[in-house]
């Protein structure tokens, strides 16, 4: 009954989406205020119905209703409650329903937080979101119905993949989807701007916080996925250039370019057509990501059961979206021409450089990800592109971005001779390099590259902080001036410092990490990076839905006890899957990582020991970036601007009424 209710609610939501996609849009062209006014209630109705549908599916998980095929395949009565709830998006059908729900949430959020937006713009934005919604709801209803029943009803479910029975993996998809789908809002704004034939700074001010929030979620989602891969897959790596990782990384790169070009467009009226194009591409890549993950064309951790019909649907949908958007862009982009000029040394140029490099980096990732697919589709042989390619291309492209990030933020709009800052900047560069050279001595084996990397990270932080100082230099009361500095400025500074933190983590981990795979029996010891690992014991333990061999290790350094770690090899009851739970001693300057391999007999095990210096800084850096995005999004200026506009409009309306 509940399942049918869920399906029925989804069909109703589809009806709401159809109304939303058609009437307000037409109304905005033939000037029918009543039709345009339908946009908001239709968006909210859609949200309500999708929510009902989603909760219905969740309730079949919680109540162990295995007459629903999807529930029977994905859940199990032994599963802890939290994983029953997160298990809803543990398989294909549910995760697409989650996608639809997230889209409905974004659409609803735009409807709620846009009271002051001009009616024409709002109705068009919501209509376009409605169209995307139709596409994905049809996808669910036609190819991936999660509410399908099975008969005879199985006694118990096949259970969730144990890899996904983890709190990090429970949170990763919703965060990622919030980001992916969030770019649909930027996309809708961009298309609405093309339809209107203008992209004024008021529209851009509406667009910026939405884009920032989506970007923040995507950043967190990717970072969480990376962290999960690190502690759950048992290899101790944090990024594999796996096609599915790339699928989420490409929209991130373009999203990053987008938030920067939005700044230039809003403040100076430049790059408007470019901004629109980036918004279109960022969302298209989100769709491409969905296609890559859901079509099963790739060998990947994420490629669970897949079905060609689904891949085809998403591919057609992608073709329609990209085709129409680019056609519209070709027809209308010339209207968005900006008139502002800027000189070679100016913030505009810096943002342009940032955009070009990010776009090229994205194109390089796209090439490496799609080329094997093309070859395969054309039956020209099977190849794979290794991580070496991505590293070789990506690092040289990103280095200049990281080097100039601090200076770019310091430049004035339009024209800048860097007067009065050159000496300070030069001094900062030299001091950073010296500091890097000194700090690099702390590691075993002096590396000039390590000195350079540390120097670079310090330079990013120092130049960003100098930007803060420079902004406040002429203020009498610096503290109160700092308090009144817009949140967006702090957001930018924090995100840029996050880049430095991230760079440091990546560089030091890749240069000084140490790893050994060894054969160890009880009481054997092994030394790695100055730490002594002793295999103390192995026991059998029982979890809620698994049995595990649990190994205990005692780690000492120079006779001092450092930590006692527990690593497990779990066998899950229902699916008989084996899983590795690594033992990790995390720290600010290093992680120690132990993963159990196989039992080799005689209580001897193959064991992977790892020493990972500064690896946490990678994720700290991303948290900084996300925080920066959040701060930038909540900046008062966007809301103030909106209110002023409303006042202006009210005044206009009032004067119109008296006329």
């Amino acid at each position: 009954m509940i399942a049918e209710l869920g399906q029925f609610a989804l069909i109703l939501a589809l009806c709401a989406a159809v109304v939303l996609a058609i009437l307000p849009l037409i109304g905005s062209f033939i000037v029918q205020p009543q039709w345009m006014a339908l946009a908001r209630p239709a968006a909210l109705l859609q949200l309500l119905m999708v929510t009902v549908s989603y909760l219905a599916l969740t309730s079949t998980f919680i109540t162990n209703d295995f007459s629903v095929l999807y529930t029977a395949n994905t859940s199990n009565s032994q599963l802890p409650l939290i994983y029953k709830i997160s298990g809803v998006w543990g398989g294909h059908e549910g995760s697409i329903l989650l996608w639809v729900w997230v889209l409905a949430i974004w659409t609803g959020a735009v409807a709620i937080f846009s009271k002051h937006m001009p009616a024409v713009l709002l109705s068009r934005v919501l209509s376009i979101l409605g169209m995307i919604s139709i596409g994905f709801m049809l996808f669910v209803l036609l190819t991936s119905n999660p509410f399908e029943r099975i008969f005879p009803i199985p006694v118990d479910g096949a259970s969730l993949n144990p890899l996904l029975q983890d709190i990090g993996m429970a949170a990763h998809p919703p965060l990622l989807y919030m980001g992916y789908v969030g770019f649909s809002v930027s996309f809708a704004f961009a298309i609405a701007a093309l339809l209107c034939g203008e992209l004024d700074s008021a529209t851009l001010r509406w667009m910026r916080p939405w884009t920032n929030i989506a970007w923040m979620f995507l950043t967190l989602g990717i970072a969480l996925g990376s962290y999960w891969a690190y502690y759950e897959l048992g290899w101790g790596g944090w990024w594999f250039w796996d096609p599915v990782e790339n699928a989420s990384f490409m929209p991130w790169l373009l999203g990053t370019a987008l938030i920067h070009s939005l700044a230039a467009s809003e403040k100076r009226g430049v790059f408007k057509a470019w901004t629109v194009l980036l918004a279109v591409l960022a969302f298209s890549l989100s769709l491409l990501g969905t296609f890559i993950v859901r079509s099963g064309v790739l060998t990947s951790v994420h490629a669970f059961a897949s079905d060609p019909a689904r891949g085809k649907f998403v591919l057609y949908f992608l073709a329609i979206v990209v085709g129409f958007s680019l056609l519209l862009f070709a027809m209308r982009a010339h209207k968005l021409k900006g008139h502002a000029n800027f000189e070679l040394v100016s913030r505009e140029s810096a943002l342009l450089l940032n955009n070009i490099l990010l776009l090229v980096a994205c194109a390089a990732v796209l090439l490496g990800t799609l080329y094997p697919l093309f070859l395969d589709a054309l039956d020209m042989g099977k190849i794979s592109v290794g991580p070496q390619y991505f590293n070789a291309v990506f690092v040289p492209l990103m280095l200049p971005v990281i080097m100039v990030v601090g200076i770019g933020a310091l430049l004035n709009w339009k024209k800048d001779k860097l007067k009065g800052r050159q000496t300070t900047l030069l001094a900062l560069i030299i001091l950073s390099l010296i500091a890097g050279a000194i700090l690099a001595t702390q590691f075993d084996g002096y590396k000039i590259t390590a000195a350079a990397a540390i120097g670079l990270a310090i330079w990013v932080a120092a130049s960003s902080l100098y930007g803060v100082y420079y902004r406040l230099r002429n203020k009498r009361d610096r503290l109160s001036a700092a308090m009144h500095t817009p949140a967006a400025f702090w957001g930018m500074t924090i995100a840029h410092i996050g880049m430095g933190v991230f760079t440091l983590g990546v560089a030091l981990t890749s240069m000084f990490a140490d790893e050994q795979t060894v054969r160890m029996g009880i009481d054997d010891t092994h030394k790695l990076a100055g730490y002594e690992f002793r295999f103390k014991s192995i026991d059998e333990v029982r979890g809620v839905n698994y049995v595990a061999a649990q190994a205990t290790f005692v780690i000492t350094k120079d006779q001092h006890s450092v930590s006692t770690l527990v690593a497990e090899k779990r066998v899950y009851n229902v699916r008989r899957d084996t899983m590795t739970e690594a033992g990790i001693d995390g720290g600010l300057t290093r992680d120690l990582f132990i993963a159990l391999g196989e039992h080799l007999g005689n209580n001897e095990w193959s064991i992977r020991l790892q020493y990972k210096p500064f690896i946490r800084w990678i994720w700290f850096g991303t948290v900084f970036m996300a925080l920066g995005g959040l701060l930038a999004a909540v900046d008062r200026r966007y809301r103030v601007a909106a209110t002023t506009q409303k006042r202006a409009r009210n005044a206009e309306a009032a004067s119109g009424a008296t006329r």
Binding site: P152, I356, S384
Partner: protein
């Protein structure tokens, strides 16, 4: 030419140079890092140059897995049902590695025809077969009882 135009031209040239350098980097890196995928039949047919790194996929032959008692090396045969190739690997095999399982290995051939794997991948779902492996098996003529995807009550055990 006005100074402004000169500046634009300079900017444009700079970008062009930058993009070309990037493209050169990109293609160079691309060419040197492509890894071909071969099936055991390709290798037996001598389609592979000794020493080149490539990927191989197939099923682990039942009863062929031999572990060394001293260290972490392991030897097994990989087959696409038509032909098989001996593979050796030192290190920790993935959790889902087992006899009869489809896997992908990365490495190169030595002069005795042994595949020296530096990495072994098995996928994290017992019902899932890497597309390359499925394809290789199909080409060899046999796709053994395709690990059926869910559906129906057969996979659901109490």
């Amino acid at each position: 030419m006005t100074p402004k135009r000169k500046q634009r031209l300079f900017l444009l040239a700079l970008m062009l140079v930058g993009v070309s350098v990037a493209v050169i980097f990109l293609l160079k890196a691309f060419n040197s890092n492509i890894m071909l995928f071969k099936s055991p039949s390709d290798i037996v047919a001598g389609n592979v140059q000794e020493g080149n790194r490539f990927r191989i996929g197939g099923m682990v032959v039942e009863g062929s897995v031999k572990r060394n008692d001293e260290d972490l090396s392991v030897e097994f045969h990989l087959s696409d049902t038509a032909n098989k190739v001996p593979v050796t690997f030192t290190g920790i095999l993935p959790d889902l590695f087992s006899e009869g399982q489809g896997i992908v290995a990365m490495g190169s051939l030595d002069d005795s025809g042994m595949f020296i794997a530096t990495e072994v991948l098995a996928k994290h779902d017992e019902n899932y077969m890497p597309p390359e492996v499925a394809d290789a098996l199909e080409k060899a003529g046999k796709m053994p009882g395709t690990a059926a995807n869910y559906g129906g009550s057969t996979v659901v055990q109490p």
